[in-house]
Symmetry: D2
Subunit: 252 residues, 4 copies
């Protein structure tokens, strides 16, 4: 198996005077960042400085579009239409892309946030609307999406010719169908459990579900959240296991 794995992290999720997560520490170790675009979190000043932080740390930049719900941090389902999805993706990709372009960087990928991930996973029309917006905005953008890829998204990426980087979560739980559970607030995660998940993933490209089974995941990237209370500790544990296994952190 490959000796290179990408580590991606959601960044720039503060708003105004309200800071969020451990961006500065995470930026030093991850290879890819998904930057909030002002809908579920993030604002123009934070986007500008987070883009700058990525560029100065050599971190690949992606957009992290969310539902327009700052109050619920984009982690609550909203009954949007495909037209809404198309427009929400376009708006957020454009807004973030402007900061990247202005600073001489390159927007590399996009990854849906929270309930927007759930909507796409559950509804092929919504998945297709989002990806059509991404594709027509910038032909070369890649989609980050959790492995195993659900049919709604697999179909849309194939139909539209979108390259997908599948990712695995080591700080969230999976149900037996391989879906991750989106909660409104993150909780402390056991570091031992994190190490175990990373080892299982590196050894066998598998994750364990909440009922104890295993599922194959063809992931090229590993996601660590920046708002888990012990996020920095989790990232350190991931990096330690990577070092033990001689895996290099690298953008896919």
């Amino acid at each position: 198996m490959s000796r290179q794995v990408d580590i991606n992290c959601d960044l720039g999720e503060g708003f105004g005077n309200h800071s969020f997560g451990f961006d500065e520490q995470m930026l030093k170790f991850v290879s890819s960042a998904n930057i909030a675009c002002g809908f579920h979190a993030g604002d123009p000043l934070i986007m500008e400085s987070t883009v700058a932080g990525c560029l100065s740390n050599g971190v690949a930049i992606g957009a992290h579009p969310g539902l327009p719900d700052l109050l619920g941090f984009g982690r609550r389902i909203i009954g949007v239409t495909p037209r809404d999805m198309h427009a929400y993706w376009t708006y957020q990709l454009g807004a973030l892309g402007a900061f990247v372009k202005q600073q001489g960087g390159l927007l590399r990928h996009a990854k849906p946030h929270g309930a927007m991930y759930q909507l796409m996973a559950n509804d092929a029309a919504l998945a297709e609307a989002a990806l059509a917006a991404m594709r027509s905005f910038d032909h070369d953008l890649r989609l980050y999406f959790p492995a195993p890829l659900v049919p709604a998204v697999a179909g849309a990426t194939e139909k539209l010719g979108v390259e997908t980087v599948q990712e695995v979560y080591v700080d969230l739980s999976y149900d037996d169908s391989g879906r991750i559970l989106v909660e409104r607030n993150k909780r402390l995660v056991s570091i031992d459990l994190v190490r175990e998940r990373v080892r299982l993933f590196l050894a066998q490209r598998q994750i364990r579900t909440s009922s104890g089974g295993v599922i194959d995941v063809e992931a090229r990237s590993l996601c660590v959240h920046s708002d888990t209370p012990n996020a920095v500790e989790i990232l350190e544990a991931v990096l330690e296991v990577f070092a033990e296994e001689s895996v290099e952190v690298s953008t896919p």
Copy 2:
């Protein structure tokens, strides 16, 4: 003098289910549109359809960035910093530009809305921050700004090498220093007064101030607002005088 004059109009200023202005009628007759970008008005769906309307009517597209104040329609001064201005312009240019790019159009200009115009007119640092954002986002964008150009903005455009299209208002009042008055709500405007202003402008490139004096204006564009209660009637009056004087409506 030139027999071609641009007519520009602020469009796409609804929000969600709240419509605003007479966009459909205006689109048929103006040559340039300034489209709201979601801060003082406008939302992703409205931006998408307004861009489409411009393209199908052959109307040149500009961004109309505003202050983040939907409640005050961007017509109230907010104590922002140059860093805020830079980031607010970048965000809004990018968001609108994405819809234009997606639909195969070209973003041509930007024009500050309401209190954002006032901030730039009164503070050179704010003007420069806004224009630096515009310039670094897209080297070819032109600035629309009211004539006569105030020193704060004239200095910034010269310093940054931004091409400016000066514009004249025939539905607003001017004070003796040549500044237009921004009010939170538009009122009915006398059609006779509009005709008189258009004639004076076409004949002598001048506007009359509230105290009765005249000021020279080197304007290549004429602005008509879409939210004045009799906006359509005003636009018709402008077009009639243009026809009488054999002036053609055309993008500068």
Copy 3:
């Protein structure tokens, strides 16, 4: 049967410079108003003046709490919890109640808006949370809710001892289970259909469903929306049928 029927209308649904509906005309003829509280629409200035308009026209005042979704006008389902519902109702009742108290009026009832109605109709825990908030804020508030009362809401009102004023819609369609359909935008409604519905309701306390059946409705109030394009015409048709049938418009 009773020769008095209440007519209620949702009012104050503008936001900032964005006006909405035909409030001034409706205020002259309805007996009860449901005033938006700033979540799906409405803002402090509009709430203040709408309360004043109700008091000067002798219209009974109710709160019209909605989901925090100005962009979707509160007509999109959001995945809220019972704790959210409780807090959203309390906040909005308090905010509107303050204007009423300040002007010497009395808050009489509350009626959920759009998707908040749907959430309560479909989920007993959400219905109970909303009504518990209402009850503990003001013991005497009555609930306005569409007839026929769905089990989730019937159970909650009984458990909490909340008096309910059931209402009938003559400008919306009913499905066969007696639920009204919430759409994001209102469309023109046939005046003949409105007259027919009013007559059927007055004669037999029944409404016709979209498949042609009839359903009994124990309604004491009739709702007319202010944002249907022909809202004023609809209200006039209702009043004409009332006059023909010698029915008086009166608060229940």
Copy 4:
């Protein structure tokens, strides 16, 4: 001089998933709380739980109305009118008051936040509009306002018969006219400086200005901010000096 001094603190300034300040620690030691009402910060869930926290800790509850500017945390001047101010105060007092009433507590006071304090300090018409709203909403509410009371506010309180609790800041700087400086972000404050300020205040009812002079302050309350990076340390320092001087913390 009195051996009892109130300590007040701004609380409940998170928003959604974005927490803010050290509320839990502060609640254990302060005697009065000013709770954000959803405009500059705070949301319905946070208001509900902050009110509960005050009641269970025996902390007197006040409203902390701010300008509608979550992005700027209410610390940026906005060009509002007296009508805006009146409506913004009414809305926020009502919303917070509803949670207090629901939980069996009593709303005791109100204190303007950030730029809203500045607007009232600088403009008698705005001060009077705010206080008229407060007075007509609840006759018994007291105003918290920094000492020395500026003429605009002194005049309004006298005219409207509003009782004022003057307060002193030991974590902010004063200019020579006795006004405090509102910045968008709080910075670390020297603990030695805090002790010195508390001692000077307790001994002589005076504060030192940024140029080294002293100003008399007739304050009955002392304010400690919860969002200064070392807020808890500052509060502990205040309490230590109080203990040394045998001053008791008590609601005025």
